[in-house]
């Protein structure tokens, strides 16, 4: 956490948003977005993923985007990898942080990366070993997503004990951070508060934990409120909620970055993000869309009269 910040927000739209829409952003369009959002004060951005271009042509330029995003001062550049092969490509591009991901649900993990959960844990151990064996890679933080932590589109409810087991398995293998994800927008505030409370009790409150929510059923910010109550201070989100697609039930949007920042700042929690400049970044991102909808209420309604963001008070 940077000094003067109460809650850290991570932009994941250039990865999670862009992988869910038909329009392919050019490399320049991605970088214009990333630069504008970094300038608004967002300190960490997941800029792409290392997956076969055949599967996700949107991510074919990940190495170049990582390299050029790294030139932005003060920005933590992360990238997602689904397996060992992707990780070796990811390490070669040298982001600040590599985000591995596996699903707690066996069925979802098989469907997503064609591996059992145990095999994905084994892969994660190889990734950590690969980094640790190479002095030039040791500065790269390796995080892991813990997907389907709140339910699964294939197998339904996911036991909390399974989430704890996977979280402990990842930490035992050397994960520097966990991103506990409601991949398909199944979570509710009671469940969120209970799960994060149990997680911190299980793994300790000093582990870096990010909450990753989707707004599929409208509960995204309510879940953030519940996660805050449980002690979470890092959240993923996507500018304009990019990625929500009414035609593809599986491709649902992250919570809206602009609304998230407004909520946190109005609650007196400093994010270090300037809302006006964030909306400018949103407009820059939107110029590259080809009819895909964006989301968010703050961008339409504007600030309440007399609103003073927490970050502005601190300055």
């Amino acid at each position: 956490m940077r000094p003067g910040i109460d809650v850290e927000v991570h932009e994941v739209g250039p990865r999670d948003g862009l992988q869910s829409i038909p329009t392919v952003f050019t490399t320049e369009a991605k970088l214009a977005w990333i630069r504008a959002e970094a300038a608004a004060g967002v300190a960490e951005i997941e800029v792409g993923s290392f997956v076969p271009p055949k599967l996700l042509p949107q991510m074919a330029d990940a190495a170049e985007v990582v390299a050029r995003a790294r030139e932005i001062e003060g920005l933590t550049v992360s990238a997602l990898v689904p397996n060992f092969k992707g990780a070796t490509n990811g390490f070669a591009a040298h982001p600040h942080k590599l985000n591995y991901v596996l699903s707690v649900s066996e069925a979802h993990n098989q469907s997503n990366v064609r591996r059992s959960v145990q095999e994905s844990l084994d892969d994660f151990a190889r990734i950590i070993d690969y980094r640790n064996a190479d002095p030039q890679l040791r500065d790269i933080v390796v995080a892991s997503g813990v997907a389907t932590s709140f339910g699964c589109t294939i197998s339904g409810p996911v036991p909390v004990a399974d989430v704890m087991r996977v979280a402990e398995g990842l930490l035992a293998r050397g994960a520097d951070e966990l991103a506990v994800a409601d991949t398909v927008g199944y979570g509710n505030p009671r469940q969120v508060k209970a799960l994060f409370t149990e997680l911190f009790a299980t793994i300790g409150s000093d582990v870096s934990v990010v909450a990753h929510f989707h707004d599929t059923r409208g509960l995204g910010l309510a879940n953030v409120t519940a996660a805050l109550e449980a002690g979470v201070r890092k959240f993923d989100a996507s500018l304009g909620g990019l990625g929500g697609c009414p035609y593809a039930p599986g491709a649902t949007g992250n919570i809206v970055m602009d609304d998230l920042v407004f909520m946190l700042e109005s609650m007196g929690l400093r994010t270090g993000v300037d809302l006006d400049r964030l909306l400018e970044a949103r407009e820059i991102m939107e110029t590259s869309l080809r009819g895909e909808p964006t989301h968010g209420a703050y961008a339409k309604a504007g600030p309440p009269k007399g609103f003073v963001p927490a970050s502005a008070v601190a300055e």
Copy 2:
């Protein structure tokens, strides 16, 4: 609270929603909506307001709607009145509950009902006296809205002490219930939890208190989560979030009834509402719209796989 219910939801769309959109629903269209939503299990519906038809032609049939809605078994029928004159008309129609409203903000109250807050409190005392003087009216519950409790479009922030003073003033004059309202969608979860906590400490936890949120800046359900933490168990909402209008900044939608019920039921809180039948009621309501948008994520996404509503467990 009815037996077997943990949280009570009140539909306000036939009043708060319809007053904010250009389309005028016919009396039959209103009743079809009200009947369908009552059949889904919503136990209280604000069916209209007693205001000059010149100002709000949408509400000209309020007396007839009240009379016919009262024929629906088990439904609590409420209607809004802004002043003493409206209240006498309201009493004549004999709803189960009359909802008076005044604003904590002087500027907003002047703009809304052309009275000082003190004058509105005096009016409320006359309304209570009027009811108490007539044995035939004594079964009518008189509630009051406490509008702009979380901020005002004219004067900005509203001091919590003012909210407490108005709430106590209403109770001292005989209010049976308070509906504490974020009239313009200014509230945030921290503020909501703090205000309701202080309110219950001030007026006691046995007073019937309803929270009335608008989703203007996307924080509606997050604010519900915070209000639940503070002990609130009654919420206003509008089916499909009717009333949100992107062309009129002042006319912003209530929180979405369907999403609210989904959230509460998924949290294990029984509302007594059947979500499938609620969506049927939504479709009935939507057939009368002329291009006005509705809102809500649950109606698009449907239930999570394996979802069991709390009310279904209880049956």
